[in-house]
C-alpha cells in the first residue's frame, strides 16, 4: 500500500506538472545561457492565478480532521479565501484523490471534516499522488490563461522504494519541464492512526502543545515566483511558517556578482587585464606573445532566493564555452583548478591554456551546481523526518521525509544543474 501510495503521489505530481506544463510548456534550457537565465526571472504572469487543491482523501488524513478545530481544518476552510484575497482574479479548484482523483465542488470539499470523506469507495484504499498529474487534462479547455499551481495536501508517508517512484514522477512531470517543486510542512493537531511507519499503524493523539502536532504537507508544483507569492500570502496565517518553505526550482539565484582577475605573481605573469567593452560580467585579458595563458581568479557572490536550498560550493561545476565564429561549444581552454568558499561567496582559480595563434578568443564561463548532491538539505527537514517513527519514538515525524527531500534536490541538480554565475571572457592573444 505504501508503495502504491508513493507511486500515486508520483503520478499526481506528474499530472500536476504535466497540467501546469501544458499551459506553460517551456522548452529545454536554451543553448545560449544569458544572464537572465542564470538568475530567477522575477516577472510574473499577467493572467489569473489558478490554484488546484488536491486533497489526500485516504484514512491517514482523517486523524487531522478528527480533532476539533485543527489547523488542518482551518487551512481547508481558509485556503480559498486566503488565495482569493491575496491574488486578484484567482480561482481555486478542488480535487480529492486517493486511488483515483476527481474534482469536487466546494460544498463537497467542506465535507473533508467528516470521516466519510476519507472513506469514499474506490478512493480510500490507496494514496496515488500520481493521479494529481492527470486530474484534469482539459485545463486548456477551461479557458484559463493564468498561472496554475497545484497544491497536494497530504501527509506524505512513503517507503524507501516508493521514494524513487515519486521522485521520478516529480522529475518527469515537473522538474524536467522548468517547473518548480515547493514543500511547505504545516503542523496540525492529530487524533487518529499513523500509517506512514515501518511498524503497523499506531494511534496517536496530539496534546495541547505544537510539539505534539504532526505535520502534513503542501506539495506544490508550478512557477517558483507564483509559489513564493502564494506562500507569502499563506504565511499571513500563524500556522504557516514561511521559513520552513523549501523551493526546489530550476534556478536558485536572484542575483550574483562575478569578478575575474589575473592571478598574482607568477601564475598571472603572461596575462594582463585589458579594458572590456561589454557591461558587467564581461572581462578581457591579453596573453603575451609566446605565452599560452595563465591563472585567473574568479570571485563570485550569490544571493539565493529565500526558500531555495543552499549548495555546497565545493560541488559547483565550472564549464567554459568558446563562442568563436558565432558557434558555442564547450572548450577545455579554461579549466577549474580550485574552488573555495569565502566569507562573501566563492573563490575559484581557473587555468587558461590557449594554444591557438594570434587573435581574439571569446568565451562564456558558467558556474553551476554539480550533478551529484550539491544541495544542502535544510535543517528543519531533519526535525520532521525519521527513518522509523513509532508510537514511542518520533511519533510526530514523517517516515523518510529527509530522503524524499534529498532525492528531489538531487533530481533537480541532476536534471537542471541550476546555474550560479556566468561571465563573458575575451582573450586576446598577442603576436
Amino acid at each position: 500500500m505504501h508503495h502504491r501510495r508513493l507511486l500515486s503521489i508520483a503520478l499526481v505530481l506528474v499530472t500536476a506538472v504535466g497540467t501546469v506544463s501544458c499551459h506553460e510548456k517551456k522548452a529545454a534550457p536554451p543553448v545560449q545561457l544569458h544572464d537572465s537565465e542564470i538568475t530567477i526571472d522575477g516577472t510574473r504572469g499577467q493572467g489569473r492565478l489558478a490554484v488546484d487543491v488536491c486533497l489526500d482523501a485516504t484514512p491517514s488524513m482523517w486523524g487531522f480532521a478528527h480533532a476539533q478545530d485543527t489547523v488542518y481544518l482551518r487551512l481547508l476552510d481558509e485556503l480559498e479565501a486566503v488565495v482569493q484575497n491575496g491574488f486578484n482574479a484567482a480561482s481555486v479548484r478542488y480535487f480529492k484523490f486517493g486511488q483515483t482523483i476527481r474534482r469536487v465542488e466546494r460544498p463537497e470539499f467542506k465535507l473533508a471534516r467528516t470521516e466519510s470523506f476519507y472513506r469514499e469507495p474506490g478512493m480510500f484504499k490507496d494514496t496515488d499522488i500520481e493521479k494529481v498529474f492527470t486530474r484534469d487534462n482539459a485545463v486548456a479547455a477551461e479557458g484559463s490563461d493564468g498561472d496554475r499551481i497545484a497544491i497536494i495536501v497530504t501527509d506524505l508517508f512513503q517507503h524507501d522504494r516508493d521514494i524513487n517512484v515519486v521522485t521520478e514522477a516529480i522529475r518527469k512531470n515537473c522538474l524536467s519541464h522548468n517547473c518548480s517543486v515547493g514543500i511547505l510542512p504545516i503542523l496540525s493537531q492529530f487524533d487518529g492512526l499513523v500509517y506512514d511507519a515501518k511498524v503497523p499503524a499506531f494511534p496517536y493523539r496530539s496534546g495541547a502543545g505544537e510539539s505534539t502536532f504532526r505535520p502534513f504537507y503542501l506539495l506544490m508544483f508550478g512557477d517558483q515566483n507564483r509559489m513564493q507569492d502564494l506562500v507569502s500570502v499563506l504565511s499571513s496565517k500563524d500556522y504557516v511558517k514561511r521559513d520552513r518553505f523549501l523551493l526546489i526550482p530550476p534556478r536558485i539565484v536572484t542575483h550574483y556578482t562575478i569578478d575575474i582577475r589575473k592571478a598574482p605573481k607568477e601564475d598571472g605573469r603572461s596575462l594582463n587585464a585589458v579594458t572590456s567593452t561589454g557591461g558587467a560580467g564581461t572581462f578581457a585579458f591579453a596573453v603575451k606573445k609566446n605565452a599560452t595563458g595563465g591563472a585567473l581568479l574568479a570571485n563570485v557572490t550569490t544571493a539565493l532566493c529565500a526558500a531555495c536550498p543552499s549548495f555546497d560550493p565545493t560541488k559547483l561545476e565550472f564549464v567554459a564555452f568558446s563562442t568563436r565564429q558565432q558557434r558555442r561549444q564547450e572548450t577545455s581552454d579554461l579549466s577549474l583548478e580550485t574552488l573555495d568558499a569565502t566569507a562573501s561567496g566563492l573563490s575559484a582559480k581557473l587555468r587558461l591554456s590557449l594554444n591557438g595563434g594570434t587573435g581574439e578568443y571569446p568565451y562564456e564561463l558558467v558556474f553551476r551546481t554539480g550533478r551529484l548532491s550539491p544541495f544542502l538539505v535544510p535543517s528543519w527537514v531533519d526535525s520532521l523526518s525519521s527513518d522509523n517513527p513509532t508510537s514511542a519514538h518520533d511519533s510526530t515525524r514523517t517516515l523518510n521525509f529527509r530522503q524524499f527531500v534529498e532525492r528531489l534536490l538531487n533530481a533537480d541538480a541532476a536534471l537542471n544543474q541550476p546555474p550560479v554565475a556566468k561571465a563573458s571572457l575575451l582573450v586576446k592573444k598577442l603576436g
Binding site: R261, K265, G268, N272, V274, L430
Partner: protein, 153 residues
C-alpha cells in the same frame, strides 16, 4: 630655427613628435610586455601617456623660457649669468625626469614591472625632459646664448 617665435613652435612640434613616439609605439610595446597585477593594460597606458605628457609639457615650457631669456636684451652680454640659468634649467629637467620616474614607480607599485620595463620608461622620460631640453636648446637657442648649452661651450 633660432628666431623667436619660430623656435617656440618648432620646439612644440618636436616635443609633440617625441611624445608621440614614446607614448604610442613604445607605449604599445610596454603594454604588451609588462606584467600588470591590478591595472588593465589600457589603464597602464593611460597613466603612462598622461605622466609623460606632463613631463613633456614641463620640458617644453623650460625650452620656451630659455628661448625667451636668450632674446632679452639684458642677458645679451652676461654670459656667466646666462650659462648659470641654462645649467639651472638643465638640472631642473634632470630633476623633473627623476620625479617623473618616481611618479611611475608610485603608480605602478602594485604591478610587477621588471627593471627593464622601468629602464624603458626612464628612457622615454629622459627623451621628454632633460634630453629634450638639451637637444632643443642645442638646435634652437637664440644666438646670444647658444654657446651656453653643454657641449657647445
Amino acid at each position: 630655427m633660432r628666431k623667436t617665435p619660430l623656435n617656440y613652435f618648432a620646439s612644440l612640434a618636436a616635443v609633440g613628435i617625441i611624445w608621440f613616439f614614446v607614448a604610442v609605439p613604445l607605449g604599445n610595446y610596454l603594454g604588451e610586455n609588462v606584467v600588470l597585477e591590478t591595472l588593465t593594460t589600457e589603464k597602464f597606458l593611460d597613466w603612462y601617456r598622461i605622466v609623460l605628457g606632463g613631463a613633456a609639457l614641463v620640458g617644453w615650457i623650460s625650452c620656451v623660457y630659455w628661448f625667451f631669456y636668450g632674446t632679452r636684451e639684458a642677458n645679451a652680454g652676461n654670459m656667466k649669468g646666462a650659462c648659470r640659468v641654462w645649467n639651472f634649467w638643465f638640472v631642473g629637467e634632470l630633476i623633473v625626469g627623476v620625479i617623473t620616474m618616481a611618479v611611475f614607480v608610485y603608480l605602478y607599485l602594485a604591478e610587477a614591472l621588471a627593471l627593464v620595463d622601468y629602464a624603458v620608461i626612464a628612457m622615454g622620460a629622459s627623451l621628454l625632459t632633460w634630453a629634450f631640453f638639451w637637444l632643443c636648446t642645442w638646435i634652437m637657442s637664440p644666438h646670444a646664448v647658444m654657446y651656453c648649452v653643454l657641449g657647445r661651450r
